[in-house]
Symmetry: C2
Subunit: 252 residues, 2 copies
């Protein structure tokens, strides 16, 4: 199975490629050369340049689309070019070249404003008083979009585009509302991470399931089996066999 990974030199891209290289035949697309780039065939081009970037989709079975400006504070002009325009191009190039499936790195920031509400606003700062883990409704894939930033809006855009391309063109699409992934691969350093952390191996397994399990259009939350998580993972467990192994609580 030939898998194209966009944003391949980023934190998640390089980690995933190294972890999945024995299961899939991986190629890559990235905006620039990098010393952190994994050792796979890589096309260097601007994702917002359709004519150029779409060539990377020839002969590909599935795409893992990670390329984006990742900081939640990314200013609008960069969001427009590198998140919105590039993400449209990824779906369109996939359709044009008969790619079967896109795994889109959405973000928890597409629904980040739920963290303004009880009990999430308290859990994110470690105020668990009167709460039981899972004793409240977790934010799931049925909630309305509530972006907390232009970045979050761009991820909602990518989900909406994915649904359109699925329903009109039959593209299979998994949108992952990814939580907190960091280089140190640990929830230490932020109380919020005790709820939102996603370990490297759990992310790897989640993406692997998204590439190999039957799928139409789906939205899943990317979060480890954290005791205090406030995002739903039951749906991903049921639909694609997501099987997280880590729990941020073990890092306390």
């Amino acid at each position: 199975m030939k898998v194209l990974v966009t944003g391949s030199s980023g934190l998640i891209g390089s980690m995933l490629i190294n972890a999945l290289a024995d299961k899939f035949e991986i190629s890559a697309l990235d905006a620039r050369r990098s010393e952190h780039a994994p050792d796979v065939p890589t096309m260097i081009t601007d994702g917002s340049d359709y004519e150029s970037m779409s060539k990377a989709f020839e002969g590909v079975d599935a795409v893992v689309h990670l390329a984006a400006n990742a900081p939640v504070e990314t200013p609008w002009p960069d969001v427009l070019k590198n998140n919105i325009s590039t993400t449209h191009n990824v779906y369109e190039a996939a359709r044009q070249h008969g790619v079967k499936r896109v795994v889109f790195a959405s973000s928890n920031h597409a629904v980040g404003n739920f963290e303004m509400d009880e009990p999430y606003c308290r859990i994110r700062v470690g105020d668990y008083e009167g709460l039981k883990p899972g004793g409240f409704k977790r934010v799931d894939n049925s909630v309305p979009i509530r972006p907390d930033s232009d970045y979050g809006v761009s991820k909602a855009f990518g989900e909406a585009t994915g649904r359109y391309y699925h329903e009109h063109f039959g593209l299979e699409v998994a949108c992952l509302r990814i939580g907190t992934v960091n280089p140190q691969n640990s929830p230490a350093g932020s109380v919020r991470s005790l709820a939102t952390w996603l370990s490297h191996r759990d992310l790897t397994q989640l993406v692997s399931q998204c590439l190999t399990q039957p799928l139409g259009f789906e939205i899943f939350y990317g979060v480890s089996d954290n005791t205090w998580r406030f995002w739903d993972t039951d749906y991903a467990k049921k639909v694609i066999g997501y099987a997280p192994l880590d729990n941020a609580e073990d890092w306390r």
Copy 2:
């Protein structure tokens, strides 16, 4: 109350300005001069040029944002520039200039793919067999986004941005998923219009209510009181006193 209308020379813009000119102090923003332009102070500028277009927002109380490429078939580059980029700029200019409220012309195409499903797929072609008007669940503001086009995706984008600007900056936002509005102001000529038609005077009253009634962030459907409508109007009737007078059935 000072109201800025974007896309003022369009079908809806010119109709609305003429209908609302005695209730509000109206100014306008449009991409080009037009013989159809209403006789109000009008700034001619590209909505995707923030520095230029944002000047039109000085001293304004509310914005009715209609400027966009309206055809559902609009190609992506135009959607990106004239719908997505311009709509972001409208929200940002409103925020920057202390505008209190934005009425955003969203579209039924943000959820257009519900028309692939029963019973909407039959109603849209006039196959009413076994159905009673209102005897089925109408598509309401709680449904997930299901765009039927890049155009529809751009309207979903505008709604998501509106919600973000409301929750983060306190902007009051009404998103109108507008149905079928045409120059002849009649549902004749298309069976689907018997369900989806929105008369000029019903649209005018809907926008007027959106400008004057208490509001946070809301999504309303813009459709007349058509017997076979499949979009919800109860919510708009309850929240802002939408009071449609027309019914496409009277045109049969």
